[in-house]
């Protein structure tokens, strides 16, 4: 009875298609968003913003992008970090080389679009190959990105290893001066990231509950049947690559601009791709909210575990040992979760909601 749907009557098809058919959900989401926008920036310390909330938002965008491709459309990809790399570098270059009127969110969108087009190029093999073989092709994207930006230092403005991203890139038509806010502060970066991520998540949600999303899922579940009922399979796959890589590109831009504050090639090595793949899998393939649950879990758990390990055994054992044991425990937990619930955290949450609906009288 904590969570109920009685008393909600659906009287039109439009109502049946709502994002939050249950009023409780709607209000909970509204309260959550208001809290994130109006309360968090004021109560959270710089450490919490810079080392927890902002990276989660940046990772979450990339995980969502991967989830659109792998979870929704069934095209495996290991090129996530490569696409993030494109997004970050293009954003930096657009900001660096554009006239005054350019602003960071717009630059991210443009860079994301270019990344999307690159994604289409690397997605072309998906017309003929599936599954693990496609992984190889997307792996090429990963290595191509690193090679490309290493070979052409122009894109890093001829810096040796990394570029510190200048504060004036965050300036949004002097709006900070008007309100007396430092636009390069963590609070402002957090709010910008939150805005971008919320908009992208909402867009993804809308896309998934409309014809395009159904086409994505149809291609994932059975592409022959999809083509027979008239779904343009190749176009759908290419669109999935575009949208996914757009998200990854924006994720990469947020990662550098909002989180790291520096731009460098080494940020986007192979293991970043794996990390984001784990986020998408653990959160739940095919779930938009799941991408963010997975991100929180994968990002926070190692921190939590090593902290707990330090706290419990810190004095008794070597720090490195405690750290490794924490990692092993975390790995085992992940395996247990995936055996118990292959649908990831999103499926777990759906089950919990189902239970809450009938609690305390489950029969």
């Amino acid at each position: 009875m904590i969570y109920r749907e009685t008393g909600t009557f659906i009287t039109s098809y439009l109502e049946d298609r709502k994002l939050f058919p249950i009023p409780f959900d709607k209000w909970a989401m509204a309260v959550f968003m208001l809290f994130m926008v109006f309360v968090v920036p004021f109560i959270a310390s710089d450490y919490w913003l810079a080392a927890h909330l902002i990276p989660i938002l940046a990772y979450g965008t990339a995980a969502l992008g991967l989830n659109l491709l792998t979870g929704m459309t069934g095209q495996l990809s290991l090129g996530t970090a490569g696409f993030m790399c494109f997004g970050a570098f293009f954003t930096f270059n657009i900001m660096l080389r554009s006239p005054e009127w350019m602003n960071l969110p717009l630059a991210m969108m443009l860079a994301g679009s270019v990344t999307g087009v690159i994604g289409i190029i690397f997605g072309l093999p998906s017309i003929r190959i599936k599954g693990f073989y496609l992984l190889v092709s997307t792996l090429a994207a990963q290595y191509f990105a690193l090679w490309f930006f290493r070979s052409y230092p122009y894109f890093l403005n001829y810096a040796t290893a990394t570029v510190t991203l200048p504060d004036h890139h965050f300036d949004f038509y002097g709006i900070g001066d008007v309100f007396g806010v430092d636009m390069a502060s963590f609070e402002a970066k957090y709010l910008m990231s939150l805005g971008v991520v919320s908009a992208l998540a909402l867009f993804a949600k809308n896309l998934m509950r409309s014809a395009t999303g159904r086409n994505f899922m149809a291609v994932r579940d059975m592409d022959i049947a999809a083509s027979v009922i008239g779904i343009p399979v190749i176009r759908t796959k290419m669109l999935a690559f575009f949208v996914s890589c757009f998200y990854c590109g924006v994720g990469g831009a947020l990662f550098c601009y909002a989180y790291l504050q520096v731009l460098g090639i080494r940020t986007f090595e192979m293991n970043r791709s794996f990390e984001i793949l784990f986020m998408a899998i653990i959160g739940g393939l095919g779930s938009i909210a799941g991408s963010f649950y997975g991100t929180v879990l994968v990002y926070e758990f190692p921190i939590l575990f090593s902290w707990a390990g330090d706290y419990l055994f810190g004095g008794a054992f070597d720090t490195a040992v405690v750290d490794n044991v924490a990692k092993i425990t975390y790995g085992i937990l992940i395996i247990a979760l995936l055996i118990r619930e292959p649908g990831g955290l999103a499926a777990l949450w759906a089950t919990a909601k189902q239970k809450l609906r009938t609690w305390p009288f489950p029969h």
């Binding site: 809308n206 027979v228 009922i229 008239g230 779904i231 669109l239």
Partner: protein, 258 residues
């Protein structure tokens, strides 16, 4: 329903996979508005025939003419756009989606809004969702699927899955419906339902139906026209009564000593 002009002409189709000839010089016509059954023993090439008709396989020789257009080399999607829908032998539903979503995919050719409009959920995209939902609900009512709208199709029993697949084919408003063994693995009750649906679709919407079926009593009851295949060749073609008395057909089904 009275048979009209030929809507589908199969002309001398030959299809081979490597050294195996699945279809060997097959020709027959399907008249507009009829129910045509394609029968034959296992491995006769019936499913291959359907796959050739809707473009999944491209034959080495011969022509398929649908509504006066040569569609031998068209892609399945182009043929679907001409008004051909199909159900599969081994259920071609999208297992990860609900019944409603599955049926909605059948409306994909009616979508005019772009993905950007859909992502922003504005104007045309919103309207289309409601229009398509209305069309889907009509078919849901027609096939009595009201109770399972929001169920993931993977959780449904076999007979219902077949019915959902039929619904998905129907919402596209096809002029021709291909059904590959729509009644296999069903009990008597479900078979009766499926036969009734086929007849009703045929009468109410005037949809031409080509179906593959093994249950002879069903075939003889509902079809206007029967084509019999055996080892990739056509051995019989005519009304159910003609086919029933065709010696070649009897031999193929009962076996004959050579």
């Amino acid at each position: 329903m009275a048979a009209g002009n030929p809507i589908l002409q199969i002309d001398n189709i030959t299809l081979a996979f490597g050294g195996v000839t699945a279809l060997n010089g097959i020709s027959f016509d399907v008249a507009e508005g009829e129910i045509c059954a394609v029968i034959g023993p296992n491995g006769a090439g019936k499913s291959s025939m359907l796959n050739v008709i809707n473009g999944v396989y491209v034959p080495q020789e011969g022509r398929v003419v649908f509504k006066g257009q040569d569609c031998t080399r068209m892609r399945p999607r182009q043929i679907a756009q001409l008004g051909m829908a199909r159900t599969f032998q081994n259920i071609g539903l999208f297992q990860g989606m609900t019944v409603l979503e599955n049926i909605l995919t059948g409306r994909c050719m009616k979508i005019r809004s772009t993905w950007l409009e859909q992502g922003l959920n504005i104007g045309r995209a919103r309207r289309e969702e409601v229009e398509n939902r209305r069309a889907v609900e009509e078919v849901i009512e027609f096939l009595h699927l009201q109770g399972i709208r929001k169920t993931p199709v993977g959780k449904l029993p076999y007979g219902l899955q077949k019915r959902v697949e039929l619904a998905r084919a129907l919402v596209a408003e096809p002029t021709m419906l291909l059904q590959d063994e729509p009644m296999t693995g069903m009990n008597l009750e479900e078979k009766k339902d499926m036969s009734c649906f086929a007849l009703e679709i045929n009468r109410e919407y005037g949809t031409t139906i080509v179906l593959i079926e093994h249950d002879m009593s069903v075939v003889m009851d509902i079809s206007d026209h029967v084509v019999v295949l055996d080892y990739g060749a056509k051995i019989g073609d005519g009304t159910p009564d003609e086919v029933k008395n065709n010696q070649d057909v009897i031999d193929a089904y009962l076996g004959v000593t050579h």
